[in-house]
């Protein structure tokens, strides 16, 4: 807030000194004309039609001449690693590379908007590695040419240990720019102390009994997906007409006062404070919140559908330490490291062999620790089975920016209403 702490008489005098007259108007138009002459008309973009299919030598071009600097700056989301960062410590011990880990990403839109001007100017964003979700901004990152093509010769663990399903995902076939950090499920979390009945269906988010206590995501894709699924529409195959119908459904929820607010990752905080009782939620967050704060919240995948998404490692083209970054990526595909991460964050693990490792870890423990690790190994949220996937829907892929903008223009006014 940039108002003076002590607006003295001098300031007041300055503020209230003059009247404005026609001369001022002339002055202003003069200034505007001058400014117009000085300011550029038109803003250049970075996009090129072939951006998503890189030139064959792009990998070699990016990686040649890069040297390891012994450090890596890692931008990630909150609730995505044990706060003691055991995996990073092991990495530093094994490679000597120091990791600066920051939980600066709370939602994709703001993250893209924040780094976009810097990347466009070809500047270092201060991060060599970031975790981005497949979706609207993922495509914007790729189409703008902001992501470094990955050199798969530097990812042996990924080749050996990653679930093959991840190697051919629609948003980045063949892992040209990204490999998964983890997948996750968007479902519903609620506080059973406040809600005395089981929550099972999407319709529960529209229940007037929870008036003013329901949270939804402010991310337009997360929000739109739930609107569509509540109407029985599969978001992955949805049409603009479906979007409009879903928007109506979501407007209903809002105008009835059922909605408290639209959240980014701060929904966890809101749930903890009792601001919301029931909310759209990401699968692993609730598990971690319960562990770290001793709360007792419940996460469910609604019977009529949840969504599954993938958060991905990506290296910005302007990264100062890409070699160290890709080394760190591959480190997370060591089975023991993948297991240790999954044990804490409880998100879908992209390394199938980690399951056996977690069972082994469980066998070495006793009591509560053992039980909880065994539960992780069995958890459908960490290792979903085919039946679980049947309930889950994928994000819609937008072919063009125009289509994406149309989508945004339908759902944005709801969030910002």
């Amino acid at each position: 807030m940039s108002q003076p702490p002590t607006p003295g008489p001098a300031l007041l005098r300055g503020l209230t000194q003059r009247r404005f007259d026609r001369r001022d108007t002339l002055r202003m138009s003069g200034l505007a004309a001058l400014g117009m002459a000085l300011s550029a008309c038109g803003v250049k973009g970075k996009g090129s039609p072939g951006a998503s299919a890189p030139a064959p030598d792009a990998v070699a071009k990016f990686w040649s001449g890069k040297t390891s600097n012994g450090k890596v700056n890692f931008a990630n989301w909150p609730l995505y690693m044990d706060p003691a960062h055991p995996e990073l410590k092991k990495f530093t011990a094994a490679t000597g590379v120091q990791v600066k880990y920051q939980e600066v990403i709370l939602e994709m839109g703001p993250w893209f908007a924040k780094v976009q001007p810097q990347l466009k100017a070809g500047q270092d964003i201060g991060f060599d590695l970031m975790v981005i979700t497949n979706g609207i901004q993922f495509k914007q990152f790729v189409d703008s040419g902001f992501l470094a093509p990955l050199d798969h010769t530097k990812l042996p663990n990924y080749a050996a240990n990653a679930d093959p399903a991840y190697k051919n995902e629609a948003f980045d076939r063949g892992n040209v720019y990204t490999v998964p950090w983890t997948s996750g499920i968007t479902g519903i979390a609620y506080d059973p102390k406040k809600i005395n009945r089981p929550v099972t269906r999407l319709a529960d988010l529209w229940d007037p009994a929870f008036k003013g206590k329901v949270g939804m995501f402010s991310d337009t894709q997360e929000l739109g997906n739930f609107g569509m699924m509540a109407l029985g529409i599969n978001p992955e195959k949805s049409t603009p007409d479906d979007w409009k119908k879903a928007a109506e459904k979501l407007k209903e929820q809002k105008s009835a006062g059922v909605i408290r607010n639209y959240y980014d990752q701060s929904y966890v905080d809101a749930l903890g404070k009792g601001e919301v009782w029931i909310t759209q939620a990401w699968s692993g967050d609730i598990f971690q919140k319960n562990v770290s704060d001793g709360t007792d919240f419940t996460f469910v995948i609604p019977e009529d559908g949840g969504t599954i998404w993938t958060d991905n490692f990506a290296i910005p083209v302007t990264a100062k330490n890409p070699l160290d970054a890709i080394k760190l990526i591959d480190f997370f595909y060591q089975v023991d490291i993948a297991a240790s991460l999954a044990e804490y964050i409880n998100y879908v693990c992209p390394v199938p062999a980690a399951r056996e490792q977690i069972r082994k870890d469980a066998a070495a423990k006793s009591g509560d620790d053992k039980a909880s690790l065994e539960a992780v190994a069995q958890s459908p949220l960490v290792f979903p089975a085919a039946a679980d996937y049947a309930k889950l829907h994928y994000y819609r892929d937008f072919a063009t920016q125009a289509e994406q903008q149309q989508y945004q223009s339908i759902f944005e006014p709801i969030v910002l209403g």
Binding site: P5, A10, L15, A40, L119
Partner: protein, 258 residues
């Protein structure tokens, strides 16, 4: 005289209301919270004071804020004093335009200033960062410094300067030996104002920062996922330092004013 009593009580009530959030902030700096969410009272501890600089990013954000504020204070102080002095002392063509721009800069919503700077940087392809934050802060502080300095120059007694000139001082000597010391307090208070505006600015900074982080931006970012008690401790310490500076300056300036 009961009306007076009511007013007295009312004034204190308002003061209490204003102070309440500050007390809560100070209190939660002593909270022995276990998790990452410092939102319920879990007992008294002093440990966060010992660990106040434990969070590198928070410390760095604070240092960035201080550096930006100091540069802003100096730059806006110099540029604003130039404008304020010229407006107070000379009649010249174009002074109306300068006045208008300054009024507009003070009256414009911060949000719009920040947003328009972002559009400028985006259009020019300049990546935001600490430099653009500083540019923005200097921009919105210039007018405040200029207004304060102009007011002082306007009330300046010209006969003192004339006396100096009569005694054979060159205009240059007169300015530095006579005029400048008289307007110096105004320049100083303008600069302090600039420092205070800069260090607490959130809105304009948020638009011009890119991935750079200042103290208010860091707080804003981390409040959504749990604010560590160190923030409360730093807030408390900054509060105490500010109060201390204010008390010292008011005590020092008292004898001069009589």
């Amino acid at each position: 005289m009961t009306g007076r009593r009511v007013l007295y009580a009312y004034t204190w009530l308002v003061i209490a209301w204003l102070t309440l959030p500050v007390l809560v902030m100070v209190l939660f700096g002593f909270n022995d919270t276990p998790g990452r969410y410092n939102q319920t009272w879990d007992g008294f501890t002093l440990k966060w004071y010992g660990r106040v600089f434990e969070l590198d990013e928070l410390t760095r954000a604070l240092v960035t804020s201080l550096a930006v504020a100091v540069v802003t204070m100096l730059a806006a102080g110099a540029l604003g004093t130039g404008i304020g002095y010229a407006l107070g002392r000379y009649r010249f063509r174009g002074s109306g335009t300068v006045n208008l721009v300054m009024f507009a800069a003070i009256a414009s919503p911060e949000l719009v200033m920040g947003a328009s700077l972002l559009t400028l940087f985006v259009s020019l392809g300049v990546g935001p960062g600490v430099v653009t934050i500083t540019i923005a802060h200097v921009m919105f502080c210039i007018s405040f410094v200029a207004v304060v300095v102009r007011a002082r120059v306007l009330t300046l007694d010209r006969s003192i300067e004339e006396a100096a000139a009569d005694l054979g001082a060159t205009p240059w000597t007169t300015f530095w030996r006579v005029t400048f010391p008289i307007i110096l307090p105004a320049v100083m208070s303008g600069m302090l104002l600039a420092f205070a505006l800069s260090i607490d600015d959130f809105v304009v900074t948020n638009f011009t920062a890119g991935t750079a982080t200042t103290f208010p931006l860091w707080i804003w970012g981390s409040t959504r996922v749990g604010l560590p008690p160190q923030v409360n401790v730093m807030g408390t310490l900054i509060f105490l330092i500010g109060v201390l500076i204010a008390v010292i300056t008011s005590i020092r300036s008292r004898p001069q004013r009589r």
